[in-house]
């Protein structure tokens, strides 16, 4: 039995929500001295555990604020769990929000290398993928134009092209397949599906159960930071639809 790709082990995440945001020294000291520095505790994730085996595609469903993005950020290593641990085997490509590593004054071409480096890849490696990225993004001559002049669809296309070209072992998709026009959406879905054949592990967040059914083979439902259902995709999706219709 191969090693699981992602192990989320009893993860809890605590946020301190202060009623007023304190970001200057004067206020901080006044509140510290007058002991008005209280926080409201908020557990964004409560004791979440699941295992994703290599090659599995897991869909994460849940309403706004259920903790889906927090969970993905924890898996991506951006957030550190307050309790528990996350273990990821292999190279992880976070597609939390496309174009997070872009610089607006930089041209598309320069951004390819910058974004690649943000994910930890060398210039040489990205060079070998360069043509593939440009071709997939369909940017053509726009590749030498500064990113500030791109449309949001163009930016998303470039980001998607880079993140999928590097052939990650684990791909994290946070509602990214809903960007771009219908044509590109189809193309990117096909691209993700073609990566399945290479044994990529996918964590996919979406509000559309149709999309989850199409792309995933397993699913979990999060509600207020807890897993309320997990298992085979059709079962879980049916349950989710049921919850949605009840409201």
């Amino acid at each position: 039995m191969a090693k699981p790709a992602v192990v989320v082990d009893h993860v809890s995440i605590l946020f301190n929500l202060n009623s007023e945001k304190i970001d200057n020294i004067k206020e901080y000291f006044i509140k510290l001295i007058t002991r008005k520095l209280h926080y409201t505790e908020f557990w964004a994730l409560k004791d979440v555990s699941f295992t994703v085996n290599k090659g599995e595609r897991i869909g994460i469903l849940g309403f706004n604020g259920a903790g889906k993005s927090t969970l993905l950020k924890t898996v991506a290593g951006v957030l550190k769990p307050t309790k528990g641990s996350v273990t990821v085997s292999g190279v992880i490509a976070p597609l939390l929000e496309l174009g997070a590593g872009f610089d607006m004054n930089y041209s598309g071409k320069e951004n390819i290398f910058l974004y690649g480096a943000t994910m930890g890849y060398s210039r040489k490696y990205i060079e070998s993928k360069y043509d593939e990225i440009v071709e997939f993004s369909e940017l053509g001559d726009f590749i030498n134009v500064p990113l500030k002049n791109y449309s949001s669809g163009m930016r998303a296309r470039l980001g998607f092209a880079i993140a999928t070209a590097v052939e990650p072992d684990v791909l994290i998709l946070d509602e990214v397949l809903s960007v771009g026009d219908a044509k590109f959406r189809k193309k990117s879905e096909d691209k993700v599906r073609s990566m399945f054949d290479k044994g990529v592990t996918v964590l996919f967040v979406s509000h559309s159960t149709d999309q989850v059914r199409r792309l995933c083979n397993k699913a979990i439902i999060l509600k207020k930071g807890e897993i309320i259902a997990s298992g085979e995709v059709n079962e879980v999706c049916a349950k989710y639809d049921e919850i949605v219709n009840k409201k």
């Binding site: 641990s85 990821v88 480096a117």
Partner: protein, 287 residues
């Protein structure tokens, strides 16, 4: 197969180094980006790296040797003297300012993708140093100008092997900038006020660092203690070391100053690194 573990407990130090090695490309790319973008769209582009210090040197020389007078007494070659001070001061203030803002400026990346966060202050200091090294050519050019054409006016100006020793003050400056830059970048995440305070502090630093005067020529009188305050400033010693490489004949190295500055820089790095790694997991909640 690579494996990454994130848990509530401490990550072993070995993993940090492995990670740091992996992200060297990111440091390279950010350094490249900062240098490329700094003068993009400006007509003279890279030339500004040496035109700017040259022009500020001319302004300082005109004001302090002509308008206010006397500042240049006892100095071998005042323009070179001023240029040494201004290059060091500007490099320190620019690199620490940029390091300070680096974490906040990269908030969009840090919030979404895992990257070791020290990459940002570090690469901003390095990028600033690359432009600083380019701007050093202006020091050579001005020195050569006075050495070749104005020899009779500045008979004490000598060119010796000691010129090569300028790498020592430059290395000290680099360590100091990294240490201070890291401390400031952490502070700025939690208190944005630091940005405004530091702006004023830099102005103070410009005046207490002998850029356009020399401590010996100051008429302190009963305020002799003030000389100690000035000498507590590590930038003073870095400027002093640079000047003794460029302007002073013979080996007049101030060892006390050297060790004081080295100690100061190393301590600032230790505090900076400790502070940074202790607080870095909280950055995301504040930016």
């Amino acid at each position: 197969m690579k494996e990454s573990v994130a848990n509530a407990k401490k990550i072993p130090l070995k993993n940090y180094f492995k990670n740091a090695y992996k992200y060297r490309y990111l440091v390279q790319e950010i350094v490249r980006k900062n240098i490329k973008l700094q003068y993009r769209d400006s007509f003279l582009g890279m030339f500004w790296t040496f035109l700017q210090p040259l022009f500020t040197m001319i302004v300082l020389v005109l004001i302090f040797s002509r308008v206010f007078g006397k500042s240049d007494s006892g100095v071998v070659c005042y323009p070179v003297y001023v240029l040494c001070g201004r290059l060091i001061y500007e490099c320190f203030s620019q690199s620490t300012k940029r390091a300070m803002r680096s974490i906040r400026n990269s908030a969009s990346v840090i919030k979404k993708v895992y990257v070791p966060k020290y990459v940002y202050p570090l690469s901003n200091v390095i990028a600033n140093f690359v432009t600083f090294l380019i701007s050093l050519t202006v020091l050579f050019v001005v020195f050569a100008f006075f050495y070749i054409f104005q020899r009779d006016m500045h008979p004490d100006l000598v060119l010796s092997w000691k010129f090569l020793l300028i790498v020592v003050p430059i290395a000290l400056l680099f360590l100091l900038s990294i240490g201070c830059g890291m401390i400031l970048s952490v502070l700025n995440v939690f208190f944005k006020d630091i940005e405004y305070i530091y702006e004023v502090f830099c102005m103070l630093l410009f005046y207490i660092t002998p850029v356009f005067y020399s401590i010996d020529s100051l008429n302190l009188g009963s305020n002799a203690w003030f000389a100690y305050v000035l000498k507590a400033n590590p930038l003073y010693w870095i400027v002093d070391l640079l000047r003794s490489c460029v302007l002073v004949e013979g080996f007049a190295w101030n060892w006390t100053g050297f060790f004081y500055t080295l100690g100061f820089s190393v301590v600032s790095i230790i505090i900076g690194v400790y502070f940074f790694f202790k607080k870095q997991d909280k950055f995301i909640l504040h930016i």
